[in-house]
């Protein structure tokens, strides 16, 4: 979905959101209360600059508006694959974004992630995946790598991976698989305002993704293994 169409549905015509190149931000009213929105569009590659721009909004929200909820709008092709970004410490900039979001959560801000178009690996891990919980639109795409590229890197036949992706959510791109594995808490369908309202009211603050993955059958071992470590003699 286009970001303009999304925010129109969520916040109405006077939303006040603005895009500056691939960067989205705004302070919107939702159900009579202010909400900080930050994110990216145009399948943005997340490099140092975009990671810092998002972190700036989160830090300002913590400093100026204690407790105000944050909505992260995710549309990214993943991390910026450039040598310059690596030299500048893109992993540190990503960690900075992730730790600012984590601090917001610890200081009582609700942080909701929404994949409204596309999410890939590095651009996703310190945004939606470090929120209190991440949601997605049904038509969104989430993946680590495309199957042909995955076949190249793993040296496994593409046909084999394609066949396995039909039955095993661990391999296949697709938002339903992330729901089954607990990485996406739920899909937002129909009335998006109702979905956001519900998310703001009922999103858990602890990390329940391993438990959800086990209950939904998409990631059967993670929760058990974690518990085994806690119980080991």
């Amino acid at each position: 979905m286009q970001w303009r169409s999304l925010v129109l549905q969520l916040f109405g015509p006077y939303h006040g959101m603005r895009a500056e190149d691939d960067f989205l931000q705004g302070e919107v009213m939702f159900d009579g209360a202010p909400l900080t929105v930050v994110g990216t569009t145009n399948h943005a590659p997340i490099g140092v600059r975009l990671a810092l721009a998002q972190a700036r909004v989160v830090l300002d929200t913590i400093a100026k508006h204690p407790g105000r909820p944050l909505l992260l709008l995710i549309d990214t092709q993943g991390q910026q694959l450039r040598r310059r970004d690596e030299l500048l410490g893109i992993n540190r900039a990503m960690a900075h974004l992730g730790t600012t979001i984590d601090l917001a959560r610890r200081r009582g801000h609700r942080v909701i992630g929404l994949v409204y178009d596309q999410a890939l690996s590095g651009g996703f891990i310190t945004s939606g995946l470090i929120a209190d919980a991440c949601y997605a639109l049904p038509e969104a795409e989430i993946r680590v790598m495309r199957i042909p590229a995955m076949a190249r890197v793993t040296k496994l036949p593409e046909a084999m991976l394609t066949a396995l992706s039909q039955s095993n959510p661990v391999f296949a791109p697709g938002v339903q698989n992330y729901v089954a594995m607990g990485g996406v808490r739920a899909l937002w369908q129909g009335d998006l305002q109702a979905a956001l309202r519900d998310a703001l009211a009922h999103t858990p603050t602890e990390d329940l993704r391993a438990r959800d993955g086990a209950e939904r059958g998409g990631r059967r071992l993670a929760a058990t293994v974690m518990q085994c470590v806690l119980d080991a003699a």
Partner: protein
């Protein structure tokens, strides 16, 4: 002197920790392996490529994890990631003096990509819980596979990073960048360029690691002992300082570099006058260059 890079994960544990003190949880004899690799016909490991447990370090109680780079490049799959998260959750409960993470990883294990990606984010959240509780998480980086992808981010979420000059810390590997944008963007076979971009000396000069050591297990042990008191819980002020530092770095590196080496430009901008000599300098000499 024993090369840290050439040791296996278990050799590192045996040599780094107090002798005989490592008590492993979910050891290989329990055969908790990846169900996904078996489905692909790929060999699995009885520890899924990571050993976790408790130990003592210079008499202090520590929890420790060591990733095995020889197994799938230390890639994080569902079980591997859950072992790390479980260890961190247990540290939050039991409050050891520190958690040591002997990181060697290419990041998410692509063979179980979706599960691995979620697993890395679970590690990240669990690590930040431990850090917020005031238990220092100390990351050691010196394995031949480096510390990349999601684990490169995890490392930067920790309290303290120890690197050797042969260690590498970054996000995307040079091969991936070369495959995406061509050899002119990043020649992955140019080892000097790879190390100027991701290696221990560069990370030390820029302040991306907290200690730079020789490729020697004893040096890593001493640096880890020194870091036990280095708890550094995150505050808004600390994150504002980090933001200023990273923003300054972004603008310190000129966009138009006119074919000059960007690493050297950045080091000079940071204040290292002898930038061109850094690659050939000893670890001890490079340690003295730290300005940040």
């Amino acid at each position: 002197m024993i090369s840290y890079a050439e040791c296996s994960a278990r050799e590192r544990l045996a040599l780094l920790l107090d002798p005989g003190s490592f008590h492993e949880w979910l050891p290989p004899i329990e055969r908790i392996t990846s169900p996904h690799l078996a489905q692909l016909g790929v060999p699995s490991a009885f520890d899924d490529g990571v050993a976790i447990g408790r130990a003592t370090l210079d008499g202090h109680s520590v929890f420790v994890a060591a990733q095995e780079g020889a197994f799938m490049g230390g890639g994080v799959g569902e079980v591997h990631g859950a072992k790390l998260t479980g260890l961190l959750q247990r540290a939050l409960r039991d409050r050891p003096a520190a958690v040591l993470l002997l990181a060697e990883s290419g990041g998410v294990r692509l063979h179980e990509a979706n599960a691995g990606l979620i697993a890395v984010s679970e590690v990240m959240r669990a690590l930040l819980d431990v850090r917020a509780a005031g238990v220092p998480v100390i990351v050691l980086i010196g394995g031949a596979n480096g510390c990349f992808g999601g684990m490169g981010i995890v490392a930067r979420c920790a309290d303290h990073i120890v690197m050797s000059d042969v260690g590498r810390l970054a996000m995307s590997g040079p091969e991936v960048i070369e495959a995406s944008h061509g050899v002119d963007e990043f020649d992955s076979r140019d080892r000097a360029l790879v190390w100027r971009t991701t290696g221990g000396k560069h990370r030390w000069i820029t302040g991306d690691c907290d200690a730079l050591v020789e490729d020697d297990v004893t040096a890593f042990r001493e640096a880890a002992i020194a870091a036990i008191g280095a708890a550094n819980p995150l505050t808004l002020e600390a994150l504002e300082d980090e933001h200023v530092l990273l923003t300054g770095r972004l603008f310190a590196l000129p966009a138009d570099h006119a074919d000059q080496d960007e690493a050297l430009l950045l080091w000079r901008a940071i204040g290292v006058a002898v930038a061109e000599h850094v690659p050939a300098m000893s670890v001890e000499a490079v340690r003295a260059l730290r300005i940040l």
